[in-house]
């Protein structure tokens, strides 16, 4: 395949749109991946040429990518090009970039694809949220991922790139402190189990209050953005977070989204109003109906996501539904269920759904949580209360599809 030419890229762009439209019409797919693959076969540099001259913000990390991406899009205001379906690898980026030509672009990027996407899109800002164990059968080891991020950031030759990074996640700090132009965010980060030993020297990191450091000198950087409850301070400017979406993790996501917008000179007063008003993101946190039940859909894909989501549940002993699959997009290995602090669900009865409901039930049994394995959906007792349904990736998509608004 030779070097791309403008004509070749125009042909490729048309091909992307045509194939994706056919894919959607034939209902063979969501219409965001196949076309992108075809386009990149025709013009390998398609992502570069499609982002050239546009102002790009990238968002990556284990948890909160889709939500933070949506917050940046909403906060920016006006027309923004984004991969809102969560197709976060190059084919999905291409599909989003050919569909609309807006100057402002926000792309969610799979953690494993950050290096290539940095090089091809040459973004103004990259937001690095957090790194923790997730889909280890696909990504292998999380420290290795931090090392790859660090190498990519070190190699990136655009001095104007601003990195917006989580100062409370030692793995993210390890990756981002190679850049001179990093804006650190002091945001609540509850999951630290993957960075108890120093990413630089492997000795134990000591945490004192909100500060942390290692004897080798590796330590929490000086903050610029901080969130304390609903008070948000960005670069000295005090703002009030009043999100419709629940959870401390969403306040962290919002703080980082708004910091990114501040870096591209967006007015924060206006941006925060738009971010506060987001009711749900691609079905996450939405209230749906199914078979006479009222369900609040919560996506939780890995131990840190589950821990954060369980902390938002009401403490009234109400029933909780949990659905677990282990397909490709979920990771084939459900051993992570033992890293989830399911003991938090003691006092609730948990109904176990999904293809790996027996793995879940076994985990709950060892955690001494009351459970019911649901082999037949029609036998679940109906309750008048809204039930929280926690589901991992493909299980969440299944429940979103089978329920109604």
């Amino acid at each position: 395949m030779g070097k791309s030419s403008p004509i070749r890229e125009q042909v490729a762009s048309v091909a992307v749109r045509t194939v994706n439209r056919l894919s959607r019409l034939s209902r063979r797919g969501s219409g965001t991946v196949v076309g992108g693959r075809v386009g990149m076969k025709i013009a390998p540099d398609l992502v570069s040429s499609l982002t050239s001259g546009r102002c790009v913000i990238l968002v990556s990390g284990t948890n909160g990518k889709t939500t933070t991406t949506s917050m940046i899009v909403a906060g920016w205001g006006g027309s923004v090009t984004t991969n809102e379906t969560g197709s976060n690898m190059p084919a999905g980026h291409v599909a989003a970039l050919v569909e609309s030509k807006n100057e402002h672009v926000v792309l969610e990027v799979d953690e494993g694809w950050l290096a290539g996407t940095l090089a091809s899109t040459r973004p103004s800002v990259v937001v690095l949220l957090n790194l923790s164990r997730d889909q280890l059968d696909r990504a292998n080891e999380v420290r290795h991922l931090a090392e790859r991020w660090r190498k990519a950031l070190e190699a990136h030759d655009d001095d104007k790139l601003v990195v917006v990074a989580n100062a409370n996640d030692p793995l993210v700090v390890y990756a981002a402190d190679v850049r001179a132009n990093t804006v650190w965010c002091d945001v609540p980060t509850s999951w630290l189990a993957d960075a108890l030993s120093c990413p630089q020297c492997t000795l134990a990191i000591s945490h004192v209050g909100s500060a942390w450091h290692c004897t080798c000198g590796f330590a929490k950087p000086v903050k610029v953005t901080s969130v304390l409850g609903e008070e948000l301070v960005i670069d000295g400017e005090a703002l009030k977070l009043d999100l419709l979406m629940p959870g401390e993790f969403n306040r962290s996501n919002a703080a980082m989204a708004l910091t990114a917008l501040h870096c591209v000179d967006v007015n924060l007063e206006e941006a925060i109003r738009r971010v506060n008003a987001i009711p749900s993101v691609v079905g996450r946190f939405s209230v749906r109906r199914w078979n006479g039940h009222v369900l609040r859909l919560l996506l939780a894909k890995n131990p840190s996501g589950f821990a954060a989501m369980m902390a938002t549940l009401p403490e009234d002993g109400s029933d909780v539904w949990v659905a677990i699959n282990a397909r490709v997009a979920d990771g084939h290995d459900p051993s992570w269920l033992y890293d989830v602090p399911f003991e938090m669900l003691r006092g609730h009865r948990v109904y176990c759904f999904g293809e790996r409901r027996l793995d879940l039930a076994t985990r709950l049994d060892y955690a001494r949580v009351e459970f019911t394995v649901v082999d037949n959906d029609s036998l679940v007792p109906t309750s008048k209360e809204t039930i929280s349904l926690l589901a991992n990736y493909t299980a969440f998509s299944d429940w979103l599809a089978r329920s109604e608004a």
Partner: protein, 224 residues
């Protein structure tokens, strides 16, 4: 009191390995036995225990855990017959040498005559092996190729790779080692009970739980 001790879960606990301690303690308690679960963190002394558990970890933490164990009472305790279940990185650590960060050879604890080299490719996927006529099921995710020298394997691989595509883990008088995480004791109740019985030196009453259904389902899927 039966004490089950997880060693350095901060370093060796990548694949839900804490579940092995949980399963062992729960299965003992449900039979009316007194059992406690303790974990050894960085800087802690290794206490006396009926069973030590070693899990999987990434290269750097695996190296650090090996050095910490080398300088602790763990080595003499195991030489004197203390019981150990070692999974994945734990399996490698007890051996003579293993490879980390590329092909760098690192000295293990030398408690078992096994050597681990870097495999040609990573072994990632479901693992099933036959152990004394029973199936042991789990999931493996490692880059090692382990060779046994005069040590018995734990099982014969029927799906996945294990040590070398043929054998999985090893078994000595007081050590059980496997590449299967899962966690392996949670998914294989018979294996958990066999280790508990050996550790306690007593026969255990049968115990029925949802883990039996999970085990049967995984056996069906993996032997299909």
């Amino acid at each position: 009191m039966t004490t089950i001790c997880i060693l350095y879960p901060d370093l060796l606990g990548t694949y839900g390995d804490g579940g092995n301690g949980l399963a062992a303690v729960e299965r003992a308690r449900r039979r009316g036995l007194e059992a406690e679960l303790v974990s050894v963190g960085l800087g802690d002394e290794v206490p006396d225990a009926s069973l030590y558990l070693l899990g999987g970890g990434e290269d750097g933490p695996q190296r650090l855990a090996t050095d910490l164990l080398r300088g602790s009472s763990f080595v003499s305790r195991v030489r004197d017959g203390a019981n150990v279940l070692a999974v994945c990185a734990g399996l490698q650590i007890l051996g003579m040498t293993f490879c980390v960060e590329g092909d760098d050879e690192f000295e293990g604890l030398g408690l078992v005559d096994v050597v681990t080299l870097r495999g040609e490719r990573r072994s990632v996927g479901e693992l099933a092996s036959r152990v004394d006529g029973q199936l042991l099921v789990g999931f493996e995710n490692h880059g090692g190729r382990t060779t046994l020298h005069g040590v018995d394997a734990l099982g014969t691989v029927i799906k996945g790779r294990g040590n070398d595509g043929t054998l999985d883990g090893y078994r000595t008088k007081n050590i059980w080692a496997t590449y299967a995480h899962g966690p392996v004791l949670a998914m294989n109740p018979w294996f958990c009970d066999e280790i508990l019985a050996a550790v306690l030196g007593a026969e255990l009453e049968p115990l029925t739980s949802v883990a039996d259904q999970l085990y049967q389902e995984r056996c069906r899927v993996l032997s299909a």
